[in-house]
Symmetry: C2
Subunit: 279 residues, 2 copies
């Protein structure tokens, strides 16, 4: 297994020598679909696109006042956690947030600091909640990213609306559990005994446990900020961690990945890493 | 190393389940560059394109008579071997052909059977010989494949002219040697002692030595014929073996590969296979 470890280390170093950037580059304006496919999708590299949706009314319209007026009375799904970590690992449990139904206005009240609330709210339901729960807002944006749909030859599987102040950690196999807030305001972790174990990243990149995960020392994390009006292309199979600097709204478009040569290679890499790690 | 071998076997099986075809499919007509990139270049899959160069005058013009008239007196580089195997492994040597200068007409005389010759002739110099040695023929075809150049965002590195009846074997590290025909017509193998060893495929797919290369049993070779008027897209890093059913001419356009994520993964696979094979 030592030779496999050596090969994996070489592989990682060579990736950086060959094609990976040490920071996320910027493009200006909606790219031409073929060029975007060739330069970013095919090599699976992240990039930030500026001025790609300057024409969306949402950029100017989406103020708390407008949203209260337009969808304030709508009941939406909100994730509630004690610490802002939705879908994350806590101890040896993969704890999912408590799912609560609230009006959009009530969520804004908390996010704007008008109402105090124990626990952190995060509108982050990842099943096309923009189209399903907030159809009144769809006139404020395009239903997909036209040049991306042309490049990939398909429409997004989901269009999601994110609203919150909290940090979200997108990160092995864990017993799923779910947070539940009791009447006295405390949060309990409740096991979901009928669920399969969930593959997830147990490591917190902001405070990596190097005793437990010594290989993380070889990782080359790239940090960057996505600002208002900017669009991030996050390729498939890139581990990521998202934090918000302040209360903000984001929209994401999920396009299904291709299960082709890159996925085939990735699976090989994943199983070899697991073998090498457990030896 | 047993677990690595197991992983490599799974990798190969999964490649076929995920995305590889068991035969080479056909497209009709010049494809749209983005579609071709997405469907064939990105997944690195071979395909035959019909009617992609029906407009080339070469398709009708290139008869022995026309070629004798147009370029018959031109001196060209011809590979000469005892058995038709140019650039191939013989015993423990990587033997390159004798490079001979002949007039185009003299080559045609041999290929048309008008003159008997010991040894097999093959016009197969792979350094843009069409443009360099036979510029008189360039009006008969396009200097590149427009939709491919658009897809890849670059022009071909080389445009090569192939003429011969012989089989060519493109297939490990070997001591390079070169054939040299002696005055009595015999072929000698002469070592090139100052050359580096050459990585090549020592296995003949028409008669694989499974005692020596038992892993070949796991290979899934795909056989197909490329007929007059058809164009083969052969992706980078695909081992291939070319035979000709009869005397024929081919033109190939070499576009440089991208040394990006797929090459990075391929290098890992290559080194792991070597480790696993030598253990």
């Amino acid at each position: 297994m030592e030779s496999v470890k050596k090969r994996l280390t070489e592989f990682s170093l060579e990736a950086h020598e060959l094609y990976l950037n040490s920071s996320v580059p910027y493009l200006d304006g909606s790219p031409e679909p073929l060029l975007f496919f060739r330069d970013w999708i095919a090599p699976n590299k992240p990039v930030i696109i500026r001025n790609a949706f300057s024409h969306w009314p949402a950029l100017n319209r989406w103020t708390p006042e407008y949203l209260r007026e337009k969808v304030g009375s709508k009941v939406i799904s909100v994730s509630v956690t004690p610490n802002g970590y939705a879908d994350a690992v806590s101890g040896d449990r993969f704890v999912m947030p408590e799912e609560r139904k609230m009006t959009f206005s009530a969520v804004l009240d908390v996010i704007q600091g008008k109402v105090q609330q124990r626990g952190v709210l995060y509108v982050q339901k990842q099943c096309s909640n923009l189209l399903d729960e907030l159809p009144e807002l769809t006139d404020d944006l395009e239903p997909h990213v036209p040049w991306m749909s042309t490049a990939l030859g398909k429409l997004p599987d989901a269009v999601n609306f994110w609203l919150g102040e909290a940090s979200a950690v997108t990160s092995s196999m864990y017993q799923p559990a779910v947070y539940h807030q009791t009447d006295d305001g405390d949060f309990k972790v409740i096991d979901q005994s009928d669920s399969k174990k969930v593959p997830w990243i147990p490591l917190d990149p902001l405070d990596p446990d190097l005793d437990r995960y010594p290989q993380y020392i070889r990782a080359h994390p790239i940090s960057f900020s996505v600002k208002a009006g900017e669009m991030l292309y996050l390729p498939s199979l890139w581990f990521h961690h998202v934090q918000q600097s302040h209360g903000c709204i984001a929209v994401n478009f999920w396009y299904d990945m291709e299960y082709d040569i890159k996925y085939n290679y990735y699976q090989l890499l994943d199983t070899l890493s697991e073998d090498a790690g457990s030896s």
